[in-house]
Amino acid sequence: MSESPRRDASMVLLTSLGEDSLDAGYARAAARRKQGAPPTRYGRVILASGLVAIGLLLTTAAAQARDRAPATAQARSELVTEIEDRTGANERLEASLATERAAVSDERRAGLRITTQGSRLARVLSALESTTGASGVTGPGMSVRLTQVTAEADDSDGDPRTTDAVEGRVSDRDLQTVVNEVWAAGAEAVAVNEQRLTSLSAIRSAGEAILVDFRPLSPPYEVQAVGPPSMRAVFVGGFGGSYLQVLRDYGIDFTVEDRDEVELPASAGLRLRYATTPSDVPSGAKPGPRDRTSTQ
């Protein structure tokens, strides 16, 4: 193409690839067709056997997929039914526990009221119950609501391949971060979707589902908190607010609202199986020397 082939040799190849690599072939085919020459028998055989091979491949794949589908689908639907059944049973048990808990609490208080020592204990106990989540609480606060807009993200361009599992879906990490920031903003009590958070509560995910205290929650997620009037401003102005702004870019919408009155339920099952109070450390001990167990 040019007078300096040494330098441009590769460029020539590239250019010809880009510009007219197909032209010659088309031209030959057109010429052949014009001559009226029929495709060779050899060509037909290759075409036919190729089509048959593709057909076989597709049929086999379809047959295999169909064989496997019912077994998986059935096992899965059984699992889903089982989960739903047990979740339902848990919820019924929980409802009856709430009444039972309240009744026991009343009886305990009635029993304690008789003595002064008892009355003092009752006051301590009441504050402990509110803080740990052992009793339901009410008070002023706020609500942070996270709404996923997955469907929109899926459908917007009609191409299923662009569906990103992360896009538009609230993750356990998101909820953990929001809850952490709500506590940091001064909350005294927090619940996620009516599930009270305690020092035993974990926010975890299994696949795309989020579990709080081993209970699967479904979106939208609402974090409700009782706390000081400044709580919302501190939350929105801090890391929590900027985190939510970032989530919005990922297709997760949010609202943060002040509430005059938030009602948070008690947590179920606040029991200890391993931790006890050490007999050698007097209760109410000052934070003592902590390096009692020497490491390294």
């Binding site: 304690l112 971060t177 081993f214 948070l264 109070t277």
Partner: protein, 257 residues
């Protein structure tokens, strides 16, 4: 169609050819192509709909099994609480002995809630997790993740500290915030090396930290060292002040008081 500035004969011919190619004709080839397009569209639509299946049905089987485990675990806890409540009720409602029993029961409950609220020291089996973050890559997010993982594995009392420095008792309201050179836990600045002292079932706790993609994996990715030691007895002595909630009142239902 286009402005009259086009006097290129060649260009006009090309466009004419393009138009004729686009014109619908009922040739066999075009019918077959139309049919294939329709099938493809249908298949794509079916696929998309299958993927959109909402809620639990959309999850993988392994995830479903895990959720079922968790739901059953929760059921077990609820039943245990139901039994405990019944026992308490039997003891407390018993005339003059009931008053004494109520006092006794209230003390026991204060003890349990005191451990949860961090107002009492705690002892039990568990683990110690030490994190040395030489590169400064471990922030509040990693420590929060560790905390959640420990709670998920059944941690009952947790203390987080700088190994030779201040310690903070972790409670429900504990929050972790990134600060210069370290992490602030409920207002106390901690720096590496960090140490979690945790009470719970030690094997479960250790296993939870070591799962693929878990805390120890993340620490390795961030070039930090995580060391888990199982202990038959862990003592947690850092304490919280007795709680005095200012805004949260006991709910009028049940716990009016």
């Amino acid at each position: 169609m286009t402005p009259a500035d086009n006097d290129n004969d060649d260009g006009a011919r090309r466009r004419a050819r393009l138009r004729s190619a686009l014109r619908p004709r009922a040739t066999r080839a075009q019918l077959v192509a139309a049919l294939l397009c329709a099938v493809l569209g249908f298949a794509a639509a079916v696929q998309v709909r299958a993927n959109q299946d909402a809620g639990l049905t959309g999850l993988r089987q392994t995830d479903l099994v895990r959720i079922l485990d968790d739901v059953s675990e929760r059921g077990g806890r609820l039943q245990a609480e139901a039994r405990a409540l019944q026992e308490t009720r039997d003891r407390v409602t018993g005339g003059s002995t009931g008053t004494l029993a109520a006092l006794e029961e209230a003390r026991e409950r204060t003890r349990v809630l005191g451990i949860l609220a961090g107002t009492l020291a705690a002892r039990g089996p568990g683990v110690e997790l030490t994190i040395s973050d030489v590169e400064g890559q471990v922030g509040a997010d990693v420590l929060l993740d560790a905390l959640q993982e420990l709670r998920d594995a059944g941690a009952e009392a947790i203390e987080v500290s700088t190994v030779t420095g201040p310690a903070v008792r972790v409670v429900a309201s504990t929050s972790l915030v990134d600060v210069e050179g370290g992490v602030e836990v409920d207002g106390t600045r901690l720096v590496s090396p960090y140490r979690f002292r945790v009470i719970g079932e030690s094997r479960t706790l250790a296993a939870a930290l070591d799962i693929p993609g878990g805390v120890l994996d993340v620490l390795r990715q961030r070039e930090a060292q995580g060391l888990v030691t199982q202990r038959s007895s862990v003592l947690i002595t850092s304490l919280r002040a007795a709680p005095s909630p200012r805004y949260a009142r006991p709910a009028p239902w049940g716990d009016g008081g």
